[in-house]
Amino acid sequence: MISLKHINKSYEGKTVLNDISVDFPAGKTTVILGPSGSGKSTLLRSIDLLVRPESGSVEFPNLTYDYSKPISKKDSFSLRQKTSMVFQNWNLFPNLTVLKNITTAPMTVLGQSKAEAEKHAKELIKRVGLAGLEERYPSQLSGGQQQRISICRALAMNPEYILLDEPTSALDPELETQVLRILEELCKQGQSMVIVTHNMDFARLVSDKIVFIEDGTKVYDGDTKDFFENPTPRIKDFLSGISIDPTVEEK
């Protein structure tokens, strides 16, 4: 389990995360919901130290890191070892082939042999249905294919958790489905995941738990079923807003 405790973060004096405490259970999928600008990405990125909160802590069984104190290289390494992030725009390395995008980190960071890393990478590529594209460059793939490869890249590091920040928001509905199917599969296999998404159907389908934040404050933290079936007035507003708001991606 990952526990975030009393996280505070501000940008230029503006509070973005306000004393947020939340648990992400192992082997489960937690979905973070909230309006645009509410602080979802900031919260998710804190876990992987891509954002550094001013105070609060992140806790794993037997490990605690206090954000307000300097975190040593060794500690940030072991912290990042536990999680891998998947980005909205996938952020594949354009200078590397698909295969190398996946194998470079295991070889460089974990010291895996080339043979070992490639074997694992090829299994992953096959699992996401993209066998045969190993030698292509990211620019030669569709967005949906790139996102599936970036999921492989994250999985290749054997993280305990995968953190996904709007993994399908930049995709057409058709390509979105391909990616969602893979995430659903991972979810069924008991992969621990934290997902930020605007896709309510998907959230409802895969999540074991919902965290809803607004203006940097946690508004809901609990059961998925409860969230959708007994929404508070505010959540009801949010849920109905999502389906009619023309600025939100088509589902």
């Binding site: 990125r45 992987d48 130290l49 891509l50 300097p70 290289k73 390494f77 990042r80 070892q81 999680t83 891998s84 992030m85 980005f87 725009n89 996938w90 952020n91 594949l92 390395f93 354009p94 200078n95 590397l96 470079t104 980190a105 460089t108 960071v109 460059y137 990211p138 620019s139 030669q140 790139q146 970036s150 890249r153 994250a154 590091m157 930049a170």
Partner: protein
Amino acid sequence: MWNTIITSLPELLSAMIQYTIPLALLSFLFGLILAVLTALIKFIKPSENKALKYPWLVLRAIASFYVWLFRSTPLLVQLFIIFFGLPNAGIQLDPFIAATIGFSLNTGAYASETIRSALMSVPQDQWDAAYTLNFSTTQTLNKIILPQAIRIALPPLSNSFIGLVKDTSLASSITILEMFQVSQQMTAKNFEPLLMYSLVAALYAIICSILTLLQHYLEKRTNKYVKGSAA
């Protein structure tokens, strides 16, 4: 006319092969190494670690001074100082070495700014992606950022290289028998300045055209590394 061209061509070509091309190649190579180092020193933020912070700030100051110095003074003056001036300080250099040093330092100063701006133009997303995979800063630079930056810098660096090829003609003024110097000497004998200088201009143009073709080839080959590198 053809006679003059045919008799002078071998000597011009031999000056090209012996001096112009090696001078340009060596200076570009050393200049590029210097440029990458300088660009990295100016690009990488000083670490929070106090023991490393101050030496790094000193290095940064030196790098900035170097770039400022060589961009704010004329190349010809730099060559004169290195070749004619330094002997007064007890440093006597072979003309070819003096020229190589001068051209390398000058190219390095300009190219370092090209590379630094290329480094800055690699999106933060790439750093984030590397960090989440637990790459160290050095590994991220080596494997991800520098290769992309070099690709971005390829067209402006080719520009610098082409400029350098033509600038080697300035080495004539510090006694090097490169192509332009040879053409001057021949003119003194055959009194054909229009023909001789046009001929030498054509030879520079040929080298530069070949370099341009090479640049386009490299750009094409590496296009797939940059196109659509995500939004």
